[in-house]
Amino acid sequence: MSDTVTLTLTTDPTQTLVADCIAADRFAALSALAIAALPVVYGGRPATLGEFFRVRGERASILRIGGDCARIEAIGSGMAGGELVIDGSVGRDLGVAMSGGRIDLRGNAGANAGGAPAGAARGMTGGEIVVRGSVGDEAGARMRRGLIVVTGDGGRGTGKGMIAGTVVIFGKTGAGAGRFLKRGSIVAMSEVEYPATFGYACTYRPPHVALLLRYLGARCGLEVAAAQVTGRYERYSGDLAELGKGELLRWVGE
């Protein structure tokens, strides 16, 4: 048993590698050999995790991944606990359908981060995803609970069909953010394009945003400007074509 399990990328995948077996809580009960033997899908064919990663440590719920994983999909899929730290970019479906724990990505993520598996009604139902970079399209799509924080830009359709939860985008937020939102919050610190089905409510200082940003600073070490913590935000309610209990909050300054 060790404190941390470390996966180091030894063979760069030249095709898409679907590694939905990688989750911090799943590794907490596995030996290094068992981890290496976990099944993955490489270029549509079955393979094992050990063919691409060197595994160090075992039976720990803190997992570190090193290397450029931009072609690796579904990391943290269904994760229910523990902590997953990734030093590098990842492909699509990061933390898809996760229900707990925390993913800290020091790089960019592909589409559907924290979203739902194909055909599923719900995306992530709990936990936290912190992306210290940008995300692809539809981050947080159909998420039910949980938190996604993106220090860079968000793609198109961020939070599309969200049922609840929170998405914070520090960079630009792509078009169509919050479309079909039922509940939940999208907090945009920069440019954001509102769907026509959102209605402006007011400009105010939302107390929960201050609390959340302070938490992100303390827990995740994110550098959040004081003006964003105490600042004013425009509140747009929506999606009024849906339940209409969600919100888009855009920071407008001190």
Binding site: R205, P206, P207, H208, A210, R214, Y215, V229
Partner: protein, 296 residues
């Protein structure tokens, strides 16, 4: 035992187990947080008449509160588990929810017993309320005319201690008041303790029951009333002409002891003859604070 010539009587303060919650109230300014706290803790001197006891524990700096704003820590006590949420729901709903800019957070996050305070108050939102989970804790956002009121969903509840006390026996009323003020100043801001009475001081200490009126549960402590020395079984020395009492509630015994130690030492000043404490012979309350042991 004497401190600065003041006799410390060989007796003890008898205190009771109560249920306690700690609320952290923040505001845009310390002034607004304090406004809410003062209203919340108003008319909360004694469970005898108020059904609860409450007070401001201390002021909080920006870096001590969850939302980074100035705030006030309040301790709130009742005699049993059931009445604590009842009292808090009514009082927080009428005093903190109504006060501009405030938010309300749990100050006992480790306590396993949880009071569903925010969960109960959320219905004021009439269906427009929303919740947020931040760092594993759920908060309720209540839309109000000002903007939003934020309150944590549950608050911790511990077994606390109520009724720690000591009495200042002085040669005149001025000396008693000066000593009481000095004691309160020394105890104010100490962690885990509140002084629920006006200015922290009680002039009308009571005894259990009544000699004359059968339906009264508490009446004047005639044994310590100087005007009754000649007509009752007085416990006051000849030279004592005024008595004031300090009552303390706290989260635990050590907090009460530390505050009593600081307060009694500060109260031992010119014009004070003796320090004593109120008890019921040790038969009613499980917490006994022996003055000489505390000060020894």
């Amino acid at each position: 035992m004497k401190i600065n010539g003041v006799v410390i009587e060989d007796t003890f303060a008898e205190a009771f187990t109560m249920r306690v919650a700690r609320l952290l109230i923040t505001g845009r300014t310390l002034g607004w947080a304090r406004e809410a706290a003062v209203k919340l803790t108003g008319f909360a001197t004694s469970v005898i008449g108020c059904k609860c006891e409450a007070g401001i524990e201390r002021e909080l700096r920006d870096n001590e509160t969850p939302d980074g704003r100035p705030g006030v820590s309040v301790l709130f006590l009742t005699m049993d588990k059931a009445s604590l949420p009842e009292q808090l729901i009514v009082r927080v709903g009428q005093t903190v929810l109504t006060c501009p800019t405030t938010a309300c957070f749990d100050g006992l996050p480790e306590a396993p017993d949880r009071l569903p305070l925010g969960r109960a108050l959320r219905v004021f939102g009439d269906g427009f309320q929303a919740s947020k989970v931040i760092g594993g804790k759920r908060y309720w956002r209540l839309p109000v005319m000002e903007g939003e009121f934020l309150i944590e969903e549950t608050f911790g509840m511990l077994k606390g201690v109520g009724g720690g006390n000591f009495l200042i026996l002085a040669t005149d009323a001025d000396a008693a008041l000066a000593a009481a003020e000095a004691a309160v100043a020394a105890m104010s801001g100490l962690p885990g303790v509140i002084l629920p009475f006006p200015g922290g001081v009680v002039r009308s200490g009571s005894k259990v029951g009544s000699q004359r009126y059968k339906n009264l549960i508490a009446t004047t402590n005639d044994a310590f009333a100087p005007t009754l020395k000649a007509v009752t079984r007085s416990q006051l020395p000849e030279v004592v002409n005024s008595v004031l009492e300090i009552v303390l509630d706290g989260v635990d015994g050590p907090s009460i002891e530390a505050a009593m130690r600081a307060g009694i030492r500060a109260a031992c000043r010119p014009g004070v003859e003796a320090i004593t404490a109120g008890n019921y012979g040790g038969k009613l309350g499980p917490h006994h604070f022996y003055l000489r042991k505390i000060l020894g």
